[in-house]
């Protein structure tokens, strides 16, 4: 008894939750992902591989939201102009607001530029051919994430309410009229079906939202990769704590939607609305993409009448934390698109690691998909710990009542993984690959 009393978590009785072990680990400042060297190596490697395409995603999301805007035939929306490749990241380079990525530049990542230039074919071909051959960054994945956020909405924050406000519609109206100036056809359509145009702009606002969210995550992941390479990360909780710090650094960054028409900037969602990265982007993103999303077409059939699909959107559970990664490789589904993107930028140690397991080269997409799932459990752990830091009490709080509050919070979070689809149990074992 006396020895256990010294342990701060022992001030309250042990949890009886199904995931009691994981809850105790979280209470000790750990992650949902077990702390092993193998896990650390995997997740850092995948963060790096994720960050490179993400560097493209955020730039292109902002490009579409700000420049392509309502183009009715946006054939070239995935063709990033130089201006957006050079767009300085606010968290990297000399001009950064807060230099998260110490060594990196603010413009597009060199590996990304090389890939955009030569592609998987390693041949210099006109951009259009790379595009049509699908030898490019799969922006469709980023759009799928955006759609998940758009479709679920109402996941906290004030963003969703604002999109329905008079003020927002007035801002849209000015931008739409300016954008289609001298285009009687589109202006006529706007007159007839204004709601359709508003809805389209709302979607574009989510493009901007997600772009601004990922602008932060890319340099965070790059820096984590650098720190790992320098041997500064010793454990999975180290990596998680870095993410928690990143979340707090960026928490207050504004979320906005500006549209550039000609030389003029139209503020659809001005920065002065006070929308914050944490509340209006990060938390809804985690909720929409990690937990909810929607079933992908072509992987599994669901019968809604048999209640195989939840009645309530909040009960949706098709995100990466619940995902069956094995269908990765099926043509066109968003996970395949992302894994394909990450495959191009895997660090050598991860490439070598995958060669040694399962079917080696042949099923690398699935192996890295499962690594990605592990890494996202770590990111989710960081979010859970960040929320605990922001809204609850320190892990070493002397007050047992506060510790109990923390316990309740952790248990409530773990309750979401009680449904059988959750992969929390799988990722506890290294054999799940």
């Amino acid at each position: 008894m006396t020895t256990t009393l010294e342990n701060p978590t022992a001030k309250i009785p042990p949890s009886t939750h199904k995931y009691a072990d994981i809850i105790h680990r979280l209470e000790a400042g750990g992650s949902m992902l077990p702390d092993t060297e193998e896990n650390l190596m995997q997740i850092i490697g995948i963060y790096k591989a994720y960050a490179v395409p993400m560097d493209f995603y955020w730039r292109d999301l902002l490009y579409i939201a700000e420049r392509v805007f309502l183009d009715p035939l946006p054939f070239f929306k995935y063709f990033l102009p130089q201006e957006y490749l050079d767009l300085p990241n606010h968290y990297a380079g000399a001009t950064a607001d807060f230099r998260v990525w110490q060594k990196g530049e603010a413009s597009a990542h060199p590996e990304l530029l090389e890939f955009m230039d030569r592609g998987e074919l390693k041949k210099k071909l006109p951009k259009l051919f790379h595009h049509l051959w699908h030898d490019r960054i799969n922006m469709e994945f980023a759009e799928a994430c955006m759609q998940a956020m758009l479709w679920h909405q109402g996941m906290g924050g004030q963003f969703y309410d604002y999109l329905e406000s008079e003020e927002y519609l007035a801002n849209c109206d000015r931008a739409i009229k300016a954008y289609f100036k001298g285009n009687p056809l589109m202006l006529g359509l706007y007159k007839l079906f204004p709601e359709m145009f508003y809805e389209k702009v709302r979607e574009l606002s989510y493009y901007a939202n997600l772009g601004l969210f990922w602008e932060v995550m890319a340099p965070v992941f790059f820096e984590m990769s650098d720190l790992y390479d320098e041997g500064k990360f010793k454990s999975v909780p180290d990596a998680m704590d870095f993410l928690v710090n990143g979340i707090f650094i960026a928490a207050g960054r504004p979320i906005y939607h500006h549209v550039y028409i000609g030389d003029e900037c139209y503020e659809i969602i001005p920065k002065s609305k006070g929308f914050m990265w944490l509340y209006e982007a990060a938390l809804p993103y985690v909720e929409a993409v990690f937990y909810r999303t929607a079933p992908f077409r072509g992987t599994k059939s669901y019968n809604a009448q048999a209640h195989q699909v939840p009645d309530e959107q909040k009960d949706f559970h098709y995100g990466i934390l619940y995902a069956d990664v094995f269908p990765v490789g099926t043509a066109g589904i968003p996970p395949t698109l992302l894994m394909q993107d990450m495959l191009h930028f895997l660090p050598p140690y991860l490439l070598e690691y995958y060669q040694n397991y399962c079917r080696g080269e042949d099923d690398m997409l699935i192996q890295l998909g499962i690594t990605f799932q592990r890494s996202m459990y770590n990111v989710t752990s960081a979010v859970i710990q960040a929320l605990r830091t922001a809204l609850l009490y320190p892990l070493d709080d002397p007050n047992p009542e506060h510790l109990l509050k923390n316990r309740q919070f952790f248990e409530a979070q773990m309750d979401r993984f009680l449904r059988p689809e959750a992969r929390l149990t799988d990722i506890q074992s290294q054999d799940y690959r």
Binding site: D324, D362, D363
Partner: protein, 494 residues
């Protein structure tokens, strides 16, 4: 011309037995390929204008008994000879990881090749019996050594049934020869037609039961599912693909050709037995949980078509029957080959456990695709060889036996039912996360399936490439069948 088809595999078997085990597959492949090439060469020399036997060889052997070395082929046996060599090659290249005693295994397979080739070519009844019985021994050994869990039981059951089959056929042959007072056991010397109808019927029935076990027909089939399931994939390819065809071959050669009059008497009964087999096979297949057993039962059904077509005895239906023998041999071999891959890779044949093998990365996408194609071919989807053969069977039989034919057509719909069940459970759906760490299936393990698929597709699109070899023979077979009937009508008419 024909002796090489016996000598090549025998030499191969000896070479394999003598040389080092690591060469055995290569040697087996080379020798079976040589015999395949030789049978293809025979095709090029085959005279399409003749309906009767060609390339005949005759050597006196044991005169007092009437046993001669007498060989010959016609359009009935030639395609089966080629199929025999092809399936031997396929069987040798069927998945064999961890196969022990490869020398014995491969030489037995080549011995089977020789035995079946001999039976198909033999024009002396005793010679036929010798080959017919001889290949049981290698099969028995293959099942009892390399079979599954209950291999001892299955091998014994197999041997008992097929030995009885051989005895009955022998009894039928002896009876036919003695009763008709033929000078020898030469097929061409037999004059069974002169006998009364009753002894003819008795002899024919004996043969029917004998060959019926081999085919197998319901209710003589009970050895077959156990044997097919317990035998290794390579053995099953041979068993289902060509061994069972000896039964239908015997039926046509020694039943229909020797006893045309009696044949017409028993034909309606045969059609009913055939139809029962078709329906029984299909319905039983639907009820199976084991994919290999399912395919085995499907085989009972598809062999039933051959019997119905043979019973109908029109030019078209007999043509269909022979085409179906080839088609079914190809399709069944492909099915068993693929099921063998699935079993080897996943470690199970249970429909309740298998799922999602179409998964592009972790599943067996090529194997599954070919399995779907094989299922389609078996279900008689147009453009594949199964359709061509079954369509001719149905068209040829309908005029003679409309109701059995209709029932067969309906049952061919049931084929689609159980293959949809099989494919839906194994190939589609969600790959089980806990089990799905299957190893990769390389091209080297799959090419035999691709070869079979190519042939199935080719004959499906261009059935004439198969049929025109068979047609002259069926024409002459059927002429014999109808002559006595016409003669009878002529005599009874005042």
């Amino acid at each position: 011309m024909l002796t090489p088809l016996l000598v090549i595999p025998l030499l191969g078997a000896i070479a394999i037995a003598i040389l080092k085990p690591q060469f055995s597959r290569f040697l087996g492949g080379a020798f079976s390929l040589a015999s395949l090439v030789w049978s293809l060469y025979l095709f090029s020399q085959f005279d399409l204008s003749l309906g009767g036997l060609q390339f005949s060889e005759f050597h006196r052997w044991i005169d007092p008994v009437g046993l001669n070395y007498s060989l010959g082929v016609d359009g009935l046996s030639l395609p089966l000879l080629a199929l025999n060599s092809l399936l031997t090659l396929i069987a040798l290249y069927t998945n064999r990881s961890n196969l022990e005693r490869t020398r014995l295994h491969d030489s037995l397979i080549l011995l089977i090749n020789a035995g079946i080739a001999g039976a198909l070519m033999a024009q002396n009844l005793l010679l036929f019996i010798i080959f017919y019985e001889l290949e049981l021994i290698p099969f028995y050994l293959l099942i009892s050594i390399w079979g599954g869990e209950k291999r001892g039981y299955a091998a014994t059951k197999f041997l008992l049934y097929t030995a009885v089959s051989g005895l009955l056929v022998l009894a039928g042959f002896l009876g036919a020869t003695f009763l008709s007072q033929s000078p020898s056991f030469e097929f061409s010397d037999l004059q069974v037609q002169n006998l009364d109808l009753i002894p003819q019927l008795i002899l024919l029935t004996t043969l029917l039961i004998g060959f019926g076990i081999k085919i197998p027909l319901v209710p003589l089939h009970t050895w077959m599912p156990d044997t097919y399931v317990e035998a290794s994939p390579a053995t099953t390819v041979l068993l289902g693909g060509i061994f069972a065809k000896l039964g239908t071959y015997g039926l046509l050669r020694f039943g229909l050709q020797l006893f045309p009059t009696a044949w017409q008497t028993v034909a309606p009964g045969l059609a009913i037995i055939g139809t029962v087999s078709v329906i029984y096979g299909a319905v039983s297949a639907i009820a199976q949980r084991d994919i290999k057993r399912m395919v085995a039962y499907s085989s009972i059904g598809h062999m039933g078509y051959i019997l119905v077509a043979a019973a109908a005895g029109t030019e078209l239906s007999v043509l269909g029957a022979i085409a179906q023998m080839v088609a079914h041999g190809l399709i069944l071999a492909l099915l068993f080959f693929l099921v063998g891959i699935v079993e080897k890779t996943t470690g199970t044949r249970d429909l309740g456990v298998l799922n999602g093998l179409m998964n592009p990365v972790r599943g067996l996408p090529l194997t599954s695709s070919l399995l779907i194609l094989a299922g389609m071919a078996s279900a008689g989807i147009p453009g594949l060889v199964g359709f061509a053969a079954e369509f001719i069977v149905f068209q040829g039989s309908f005029a003679t036996f409309p109701i059995p034919t209709l029932l067969c057509i309906i049952s061919s719909g049931l084929t689609a039912v159980y293959f949809v069940i099989l494919i839906n459970r194994t190939c589609f759906g969600k790959l089980d996360n806990d089990r799905a760490y299957y190893t990769r299936i390389g091209f080297s393990q799959q090419w035999p399936a691709l070869v079979l698929t190519a042939i199935i597709l080719y004959f499906g699109v261009q059935p004439n490439a198969l049929l025109h070899w068979i047609e002259p023979t069926t024409n002459s077979l059927v002429v014999e069948l109808h002559q006595p009937a016409i003669a009878q009508i002529a005599t009874t008419n005042p």
